[in-house]
Each structure stands twice: as C-alpha cells, then as structure tokens.
C-alpha cells in the first residue's frame, strides 16, 4: 500500500472510531444511561476496548483502500460492507475476551459469540456502508478544496 493510502487509512480509522464513540456517548447521555454504563466498565477495560476498535478499524480501512477506491460505486460499498462486517465481528471478539476474563464462564462466552456474531456482522456492514458514503462525501469536498 502506498504511503498516501496508509496515511488516509489512519485518518479514516481515527475519524470513524472517534465519531462512533462521540455519537454513542451523546445518545447514552441524552437517555440517562451513560453514568450506569460507565460505572460498570473499568477505565483500563474501556481503554483496551477503544484501542481494539481503533486498531481493527485502522486495519480494515487499510484493506478497504487497498481493494477499491472512493469512485468505485457499488464495488466500493460492497467492500465497505465486507470490511465493516469484519470490524464488527472482530470488535465482538474483543468484547467477548473482556467478558471471558471478567466472568470466566466459557459457555456464556460461546453463547454470546454464537448469537452475537451474525448481529455484529450485520451492524458492522451497515456502519461500514454508512461511513463509506460519508467518507466519499468528505474526501470529495476535501479534494476540491485542496486542489482549488
């Protein structure tokens, strides 16, 4: 992958991760559920989950940029759905590792994995497509501004 694509993957991954977390925090605060959720998550655990999502997103954005381009239309969206699903399942795995370490119940983790994997893949695919559309818009505007 070219250096330029590597830099863009870093930008997009950081943007996606931060935007998802900021939006989630805003929604949880608005409905009054943020305090109780944060009370149940240790600081180190929260940081590890954030870093795992950031790292996963960096990797999958790099793979997405290596296989397609913003102007590729349906092909770009299909790739975005695929790599979004990979991100979703990967992040579920990170959450399951945390649950496994905390509760030490392998059967429970296996049930969560069995039920959660298709849901995580679907959510990841939808989020991946949404971000691909947003990225195409933002990069399009940025490209016009940078070369005007």
């Amino acid at each position: 992958m070219a250096d330029a694509d590597a830099r863009l993957a870093w930008v997009l991954a950081s943007f996606h991760t931060a935007a998802l977390v900021v939006a989630g925090v805003a929604v949880l605060y608005a409905v009054g559920a943020l305090g109780s959720l944060l009370q149940g998550v240790h600081t180190a655990t929260g940081a590890a989950l954030y870093l795992s999502l950031w790292g996963l997103t960096w990797r999958t954005n790099a793979r997405w940029l290596a296989t397609t381009s913003f102007g590729a239309g349906r092909e770009a969206l299909t790739a975005a759905a695929t790599w979004g699903a990979v991100t979703g399942v990967g992040f579920l795995f990170a959450i399951l590792v945390v649950i496994g370490v905390v509760v030490r119940e392998l059967v429970l983790v296996a049930v969560f994995a069995f039920v959660g994997a298709p849901v995580a893949a679907l959510v990841g695919a939808v989020v991946g497509v949404a971000f691909a559309l947003l990225d195409a818009l933002l990069v399009g505007v940025g490209t016009r501004l940078g070369t005007a």
Binding site: V11, L38, Q39, T43, A47, V139, L145, G146, T147
Partner: protein, 139 residues
C-alpha cells in the same frame, strides 16, 4: 484507582496540547512559509492530530467514568452536550481538512490558502473546546 485516573487526565491534556499547539503551528507555517514547507508540516500534523484526537476521545470517556454514576445534568450537561457537538463538528471538518492536505500533496498548484483557513478554523474550534472544558471543570 487514583494513579490511573491521573494518567488518563495527563494523557487528555497532553493530547490537547498536541492538537491545539500543532494546529497553531500549522496555521503559522501555512501563513508564512512556501507551499512545500506548508505541505510537509501539514502532512505531519494530520498524522499527529488524528492520534491526539483519538486519545482525546478515549481519555474524555475515561474522565466521564470518574464522575459515574452521577454524571451531572443542568448547566454542566448543556456545556457537555455543546462540547460533544463541537467535537463532532471538529471531526467532520478535520476529515475534510485531512482530505484537502492529501489532495494538495498531489496537486500541481496546492491550495495553501485554503489549508491556512482550515488550520485557523481548527485552532479556533479547539480553543472553544478547551473553553467549554474549563467551564465544565470549574463552573
């Protein structure tokens, strides 16, 4: 755990120093230097900015966790929601700014005046976020 909470705050302040100080530097350089220097500084700043931004969001949630479960509402909540709005707008605007730098590197005539305005807006937006953080911390 007090040392961990202290470390979270330290990283939060450090990341803001990188984002805001770097933004001001990129603004000054784009105002005074030639296109090549501007793009070199801008490219480096974009990488540092997104690293700092990620750390700011991560440690910001960590700082909220220190208040849990009784996260305040009222005037503090209004400042908090305004800060989240600014941060969201900053993320969107910064993605555009990074894409502009990305495109300008390959352009025959890079739009350095646009980049200068982008870094000015980034520095101003980050200053407002710091002001809101001060309101939240000290009332």
């Amino acid at each position: 755990m007090v040392p961990l909470a202290l470390a979270v705050r330290w990283f939060h302040v450090l990341a803001m120093a990188v984002a805001l100080g770097g933004g001001a530097l990129a603004w000054a350089v784009s105002h005074t230097a030639d296109a090549e220097t501007t793009l070199t500084v801008a490219t480096t700043y974009e990488l540092a900015f997104w690293g700092a931004f990620g750390v700011l969001v991560m440690t910001g949630v960590g700082n909220l966790g220190a208040l849990a479960p009784a996260i305040p509402r009222g005037a503090w909540g209004a400042a908090f929601l305004a800060k989240l709005g600014f941060v969201g707008a900053l993320a969107l605007g910064s993605a555009v700014r990074s894409a502009a730098v990305h495109a300008a590197r390959d352009a025959a005539t890079p739009a350095t005046a646009t980049l200068e305005r982008g870094y000015a807006a980034t520095t101003l937006a980050l200053t407002l976020v710091v002001a809101l953080a001060a309101v939240m911390a000290h009332g």
